[in-house]
Every structure is written in structure tokens, then in C-alpha cells.
């Protein structure tokens, strides 16, 4: 038997993620499914970290294991966690199972054609990718190659990705919020009665612990954004952590408490302003005579010596990303947790 080409610990994790995926889908209680899904995401980010993808693992830990799970939980909080036990539909499930198995077999048929796992001379690793590693210092003075590719070489993707977050935020706002906005007074009482009686703000321990944690979380998040040039992290990760700190505030105290500090209007305006900052930096490049997002031409209006322009441009757009992601996460959470009422909720 040939030895496994991957780290043994990874084998265990890989088997575990499959198990967790199956458990998460077969559990009959939705709350349980959400929690197992969170654990699944966390395992997944360990695997990625093991393969050298720290930035991806960092993002998955914050987004997949953290915020996504909170979103699912707050949806369940507003609805119900029970699943109806209904017989039948087995033939349909088997049919889909057959289709899916065939698809899987089709995908596996390409395996012999793949380069060996971990081969550094495979086309994926040897055609375009070496350029970034070789030139990130001379081009942009950014030792974290992921950051320089993210915000510079493929900065357009990142602008659009920020736009995706912005769209998700205004889409959820439009779906949930607008309808209930005017009917605040004639809210049907029984709907409130449906909500679980558990009040999360009761717990003294949770309150004190989060009061202690939140400032450190925010400080760490700012460090992650600002230090993204040299260490794992950047606008997304930092933005999600900042957003998570506010979500924690909302969960441990009260949604009202959070809304007392951040009004609906200011949240939604800040979400748009991050995208605006990113797009405007790109536009400034056009007006200075370069191509869109070509930060080099911004040199005359940025501080520092000439060849630092790209590095500064990257920082500017990362701040834009951070703002949009942070406030999007908060606004999405408030919408989902309060079912668009913006008054009370998880």
C-alpha cells in the first residue's frame, strides 16, 4: 500500500468533515444541525490551515464557523427548530441519490488525469502563480502575497466581492425590512408570543465576559486590517471580526442596546460607503491617467516615497472592504434576528 501523500492528521480531519456534514444534514432538530454545521466549518478551516492557506482558514473561521452559524441560529430563533416527520418521498430521494452518485463518478473519472497532489510543478502552481511570489516585493512591497494578489493583481475581483456583500445586505434589507416598517403599531401580538421565552440578556456571566472581550476583539480586528500586508488577514477578516464584536454586543445585551448606538440609517449608509471608497480609489487612478485600480499613478497624492504607492493603495481599499463587511454583517444580523422589525430579537 502506498503511503498517503498528506499529513496523517489531515486524514482524520478529512474523515471527520464528511461525518459532520452527514450528521448536520441528518439531525432532526435544526438548531442542532446549525451547531454541527459550525463545527464542520471549523474542522474545514483546520484542514486549510494545514495546507498553507492561512488567509482562507482565517476567513472561514470568522465567516463560516462564526457569522454563518449565527445567521442560521437567528433565523431559527425567529421561526422554529422542529422538523416534521413525514414518511414517503423515498423514491425521489433515491433517484436524486442515483443522479448525484453518477455525477460523483463522472468527477472522479478525471482523477488519473490530475497532476500528483502537492506537485509544485503542476500547471496550477507553475504557470501564472510564480509571478506573484517572485514580484510581490518589487511591485508592491507587500510580503503577504495573498494580500497583494487580493487587492492589487486581482483587485477588481475584490471590488466585486465587496459589491456582493453590499448587494446581500441591501437585498436582505429589501426582503425583510421594508414590509414591516410602517406596521409597527399594529403588530399582531400572537406573533411575539411565538418567540421563545428565553432572554439571552439574562445571563450575568455572558454580559460581563463580553464586556471584557469586545474591546480586545475590536483592537485585534483593527490590527488584522492594518497589518494585513505582513501577516494573515486583511479587510475581510478584520471586517468580519469587527462585525462579530458588535453582533456579540447585540446577543449578550440586547438588540435595542446596539441600535441605540448605531441607527439603521447610519448602518446602511456605512455599508455603501465602503464600496464607494474602493470604487472611488479606482476611479481616482483613471483620473490620474492610469488604468482602473492602477495604484501607481496615485503616487503624487499619497504619502511616502514613490514605490510605496501600491502598498498605500492596497491599504486604502482594504479599509473600504473592512467598512462594508463590518456593517453588512451587523445589518444582516439585525435583519435576520429581528425579522426585519429592528426592535427586538436574538
Amino acid at each position: 500500500m502506498p503511503s498517503l501523500p498528506i499529513w496523517e492528521f489531515d486524514v482524520l480531519l478529512l474523515v471527520l468533515v464528511v461525518l459532520f456534514a452527514l450528521i448536520s444534514l441528518s439531525i432532526r432538530n435544526l438548531m442542532g444541525a446549525a451547531i454541527v454545521f459550525g463545527a464542520y466549518s471549523f474542522m474545514m478551516c483546520l484542514i486549510w490551515a494545514g495546507m498553507g492557506a492561512v488567509d482562507v482558514a482565517f476567513t472561514e473561521a470568522a465567516v463560516g464557523a462564526g457569522v454563518s452559524t449565527v445567521f442560521i441560529v437567528s433565523t431559527i430563533y425567529n421561526t422554529s427548530a422542529t422538523m416534521q416527520n413525514k414518511p414517503g418521498g423515498l423514491t425521489f430521494k433515491l433517484f436524486i441519490g442515483l443522479v448525484v452518485t453518477l455525477t460523483g463518478a463522472f468527477l472522479l473519472s478525471a482523477l488519473p488525469d490530475f497532476p500528483e497532489w502537492g506537485d509544485s510543478e503542476s500547471p496550477a502552481n507553475a504557470v501564472v502563480a510564480p509571478y506573484y511570489i517572485k514580484n510581490t516585493i518589487t511591485d508592491a512591497h507587500v510580503p503577504n502575497v495573498v494580500t497583494s494578489v487580493l487587492a492589487d493583481y486581482r483587485g477588481f475581483d475584490t471590488l466585486l466581492e465587496t459589491t456582493v456583500v453590499f448587494i446581500a445586505c441591501i437585498a436582505i434589507y429589501s426582503i425583510l425590512r421594508t414590509e414591516t416598517a410602517k406596521s409597527k403599531t399594529d403588530e399582531p401580538e400572537e406573533e411575539i408570543a411565538v418567540l421563545p421565552s428565553y432572554d439571552p440578556s439574562d445571563s450575568l456571566i455572558v454580559r460581563q465576559a463580553s464586556r471584557f472581550m469586545i474591546p480586545f476583539m475590536q483592537l485585534f480586528a483593527l490590527y488584522v486590517i492594518a497589518h494585513g500586508h505582513y501577516s494573515p488577514g486583511g479587510g475581510f477578516q478584520g471586517g468580519v471580526i469587527l462585525g462579530a464584536s458588535l453582533i456579540l454586543l447585540a446577543i449578550s445585551f440586547d438588540l435595542k442596546f446596539l441600535l441605540g448606538h448605531w441607527s439603521e440609517k447610519s448602518l446602511m449608509l456605512l455599508v455603501a460607503s465602503g464600496v464607494f471608497l474602493y470604487a472611488a480609489v479606482g476611479l481616482a487612478c483613471v483620473f490620474m491617467g492610469g488604468n482602473y485600480l492602477d495604484y501607481v499613478v496615485l503616487d503624487p497624492i499619497l504619502p511616502g516615497k514613490g514605490d510605496m504607492a501600491r502598498s498605500h493603495g492596497i491599504l486604502l481599499v482594504e479599509i473600504g472592504v473592512g467598512i462594508t463587511v463590518m456593517f453588512s454583517m451587523v445589518a444582516i444580523h439585525i435583519n435576520l434576528a429581528s425579522n426585519g422589525r429592528f426592535d427586538r430579537g436574538l
Binding site: 500500500m1 502506498p2 498517503l4 501523500p5 498528506i6 489531515d10 464528511v18 456534514a21 444534514l25 435544526l30 454545521f37 466549518s41 474545514m44 486549510w48 495546507m51 498553507g52 492557506a53 488567509d55 482562507v56 476567513t59 472561514e60 463560516g64 454563518s68 445567521f71 442560521i72 433565523t75 431559527i76 422554529s80 422538523m83 413525514k86 425521489f92 455525477t103 460523483g104 482523477l111 490530475f114 497532489w117 502537492g118 509544485s120 496550477a124 502552481n125 502563480a129 506573484y132 511570489i133 516585493i137 510580503p143 503577504n144 502575497v145 495573498v146 494578489v149 475581483d157 466581492e161 456583500v165 446581500a168 436582505i172 426582503i175 425583510l176 501577516s231 494573515p232 435583519n335 435576520l336
Partner: protein, 126 residues
């Protein structure tokens, strides 16, 4: 068989994606569908990260020494940054879709008081 072991990673990737795809199509519960969708997406992300992994490679952050001597950079010391960027984007897109899906599911629940697809269809026919 040897091929399967040599590509153990990719086999797991395909299994994960197919679990997710099956849940998206066959599960009747809307929240379970959303979870299946997220599993499918993480499967794809694992696939890309596996493509970009290199034996004996470190995280793609240059050390202080080579950062000061750019000609000393050895490409194969660092994992592929390109696939990682692509997947950062995919993760963020994934959470955006999940959020919109959950918002729609909440609205549907308000209307029909159930997450079950069959019951919703029955309600719509009435």
C-alpha cells in the same frame, strides 16, 4: 485503488460536494437546503485549496530575509497564493448567498408556518 489513495483529498472533495448537492436537491426542509448549499461550496473551496497545495511549502508570506533580498525568493517554498485568493472570494460570496437564502426562508415561514417544501406547495395549490 492506488489512484484513489494517492488522491485521497480529491475523493473526499467529491464526496463532500455530492453530499451537498444531494441535500440541495433532495432535502425538503429549506434550512437543510441552505446548509447543503454551504457544504457544496466548502467542498469546492477544499478542491481549489488542494490544487494549490505544495509538498514542503509554507504559507505564502515572505520572510523578512527574502523580503529584503527579492532575488533570493524561491517560488516552491510558498503555497500557491492564486487559488487562495479565488477561494477567499468564494467564501464571501457563499455567506452572502446564505444570508439571502435565510432571509427568504424567514419570509416563507411567516407565510406558511413551515419550512417543508411539500407542505408549502400544498398550501399554494389551495
Amino acid at each position: 485503488m492506488e489512484n484513489l489513495i494517492a488522491n485521497f483529498n480529491y475523493v473526499i472533495v467529491v464526496i463532500l460536494m455530492m453530499i451537498g448537492l444531494w441535500a440541495m436537491l433532495a432535502q425538503k426542509n429549506l434550512i437543510k437546503k441552505c446548509i447543503g448549499m454551504a457544504i457544496f461550496q466548502t467542498g469546492i473551496i477544499l478542491f481549489f485549496i488542494s490544487i494549490g497545495a505544495k509538498n514542503e511549502a509554507k504559507v505564502p508570506i515572505l520572510s523578512k530575509f527574502v523580503a529584503e533580498n527579492p532575488p533570493a525568493i524561491i517560488v516552491n517554498d510558498y503555497a500557491n497564493p492564486l487559488t487562495q485568493i479565488l477561494m477567499l472570494t468564494a467564501i464571501v460570496v457563499g455567506v452572502a448567498i446564505l444570508g439571502v437564502g435565510l432571509a427568504l426562508a424567514q419570509k416563507i415561514y411567516q407565510q406558511y408556518s413551515t419550512f417543508d417544501e411539500d407542505e408549502i406547495l400544498e398550501n399554494q395549490r389551495k
